[in-house]
């Protein structure tokens, strides 16, 4: 599903975000991306989401070479990704329903179709019945689950999450991670950047460890 071959990202300032990273993730796999802050976890996810462009090497996602995805094709490519952020990036002046519906509206789905799918996604994250509320009236954990519902509402084959539990207490973090596991069980490829090492060790998924923009051997701190 995801293949990195000697991928490097050098910013215009000369700073290296990533230096020669190679790894492969199979379809349907779930993996955690770990490492200290500044190790390049976010950079790696942003390269996959085409929020930034790699400067060297090759990134192939779902059989598509990202270098060849330019212009308006970027938008169509992103429709096959679900991205979740630590700060959830919800639109605070829109209801929960409208926030979750956004990817479907953008893709031009019909109204009835949108309503059905948004309800299904909210049901999956346990927020059914909160469609009419505004995000500010929700707790941090609920806001993050709205963000997850938005990411999965158009059933993307790949989910990316950047520190999704960064602001949550251990119990809520466990809940959110279990949610990701459930999506993974129905075949979604999941890649989660996190520094919550204790939590993920208990879950027993693959760990991709980064240090100073390079892969570090797993299992060694």
């Amino acid at each position: 599903m995801i293949r990195f071959e000697q991928v490097a990202k050098r910013y215009a300032t000369g700073h290296d975000g990533l230096g020669s990273v190679s790894f492969h993730m199979a379809r349907g796999e779930m993996a955690f991306l770990t490492g200290p802050s500044g190790a390049g976890k976010s950079t790696l996810l942003r390269l996959i989401g085409l929020i930034e462009r790699h400067t060297r090497g090759q990134v192939v996602v779902g059989g598509q070479n990202l270098q060849r995805i330019q212009g308006r094709r970027v938008a169509y490519y992103r429709r096959n990704l679900g991205i979740i952020f630590q700060d959830h990036r919800l639109l605070l002046d829109r209801t929960v329903f409208d926030n979750v519906a956004l990817p479907l509206v953008v893709a031009g789905h019909r109204r009835g179709d949108i309503e059905r799918r948004v309800r299904a996604a909210l049901d999956q994250v346990g927020l059914l019945g909160k469609e009419r509320l505004f995000p500010v009236t929700l707790s941090g954990g609920e806001q993050q689950r709205v963000g997850i519902a938005r990411a999965v509402v158009n059933k993307p084959p790949l989910l990316l999450a950047d520190e999704p539990t960064g602001n949550l207490d251990p119990e809520l973090s466990q809940e959110i991670m279990s949610l990701f596991e459930r999506f993974n069980q129905v075949g979604v490829t999941v890649l989660i950047a996190t520094h919550d090492v204790d939590l993920i060790r208990r879950m027993g998924h693959r760990e991709i460890r980064l240090r100073d923009g390079r892969l570090a051997p797993a299992g060694r701190p």
């Binding site: 379809r27 349907g28 989401g49 929020i51 996602v61 779902g62 059989g63 598509q64 308006r72 938008a75 169509y76 490519y77 992103r78 429709r79 096959n80 991205i83 990036r89 639109l91 956004l102 990817p103 953008v106 893709a107 031009g108 789905h109 019909r110 009835g112 179709d113 938005r150 158009n154 059933k155 084959p157 790949l158 129905v186 075949g187 979604v188």
Partner: protein, 326 residues
């Protein structure tokens, strides 16, 4: 990226649940945005009206000037073909000699019409037109000379030909003064052309102002909705999708502004029509002030809509590219 097998069925259903006819789907999406942008404009009526009013005034000014120009043209057309020469006869020329002179002129082939106006007739006409009856009554005798009005045939109505005729008549013994009344019409033509050029320049400047007003308003709207644009792009919105509501907002500003301009000009002409028609009546003219027609209004609306669309297009083109998810 291919969808995973477990969801291929739902993906297929998803494809089927979208609008199958691409043309009507496209039309429906545009219509939805057109209406939803009007809806969001109506939710901030004060800001919308402010921008629409500025656009309206900027459009009303050249429209009103153009309308005045059109009225001037109408007056000018009424004067056409009136290439008449007035021959004022010497006071000592009596009526019999005057009429004989007029008869001589009637025989000429280069004159289409000759009309003798005796001093008494001239006085009666003057009294009627000026209303100065009392003043003229206290005068002991009629101060007005007899006048022979001649109208050259069409082929002699040119400026040079008329000038030759005027010189010839001026030399006649009976004539004190030969006056070509068309001179001021040509001056009016010159003034009209100047005014017309001025209107074009003002229209161009104010058109540019409308572009800037709409463009700036759209730029501000884009800035306040920056986060929304970023998130929309993040979940797969195309540039066209993001652009659409802003373009339609600009279109609405143009349309609302031009409707306001239409109203303003119609109102202004309505206010002018009373005095103008009274003035025309004083000149024995059946001239009526031309008011705003439906075509005029539709033209202004089309111009406003076009300017609004182009103005927002410029702003969107400049600022939407800069906003990328981070």
């Amino acid at each position: 990226m291919s969808r995973r097998p477990g969801h291929s069925a739902s993906a297929g259903r998803g494809g089927g649940s979208r609008l199958t006819d691409p043309v009507s789907g496209w039309l429906l999406r545009h219509l939805q945005v057109l209406i939803s942008t009007l809806g969001s404009l109506s939710r901030s009526p004060f800001n919308t009206l402010m921008t629409a009013a500025v656009v309206g005034i900027a459009l009303a000014l050249p429209s009103a000037l153009y309308k005045l120009l059109e009225n001037g043209e109408a007056v000018r057309r009424g004067l056409e073909g009136a290439a008449q020469i007035s021959l004022f006869l010497h006071q000592e020329v009596n009526e019999a000699r005057g009429r004989a002179f007029a008869a001589e002129l009637t025989a000429r082939s280069d004159l289409a019409a000759v009309h003798y106006i005796s001093p008494d007739e001239a006085l009666a006409e003057y009294q009627e037109m000026s209303g100065l009856t009392d003043v003229l009554e206290v005068m002991e005798h009629n101060p007005l000379p007899a006048v022979v009005v001649v109208i050259p045939v069409a082929e002699h109505a040119g400026v040079e030909a008329v000038r030759t005729l005027v010189e010839e008549f001026a030399a006649a013994a009976e004539v004190e003064l030969a006056q070509f009344d068309q001179e001021w019409v040509r001056r009016l033509d010159g003034l009209t052309a100047l005014f017309e050029r001025g209107v074009v320049i003002i229209a161009a400047l104010l058109g540019a102002a409308v572009l800037l007003i709409v463009g700036n308003t759209i730029r501000l709207t884009i800035n306040t909705r920056r986060q929304e644009i970023e998130v929309a792009k993040l979940v797969g919105a195309t540039d066209a999708f993001v652009r659409r509501p802003f373009l339609y907002t600009g279109l609405w500003f143009g349309i609302l502004g031009s409707l306001l301009a239409w109203l303003l000009v119609a109102l202004a002409l309505e206010l002018l029509s009373g005095p103008v028609n009274r003035l025309a009546a004083l000149y024995y003219s059946d001239f009526r002030l031309l008011t705003v027609t439906l075509t005029d209004g539709l033209l202004v609306t089309a111009a406003g809509a076009g300017l609004g669309l182009v103005g927002s297009w410029i702003a969107v083109g400049r600022h939407l590219q800069e906003i990328q998810p981070s």
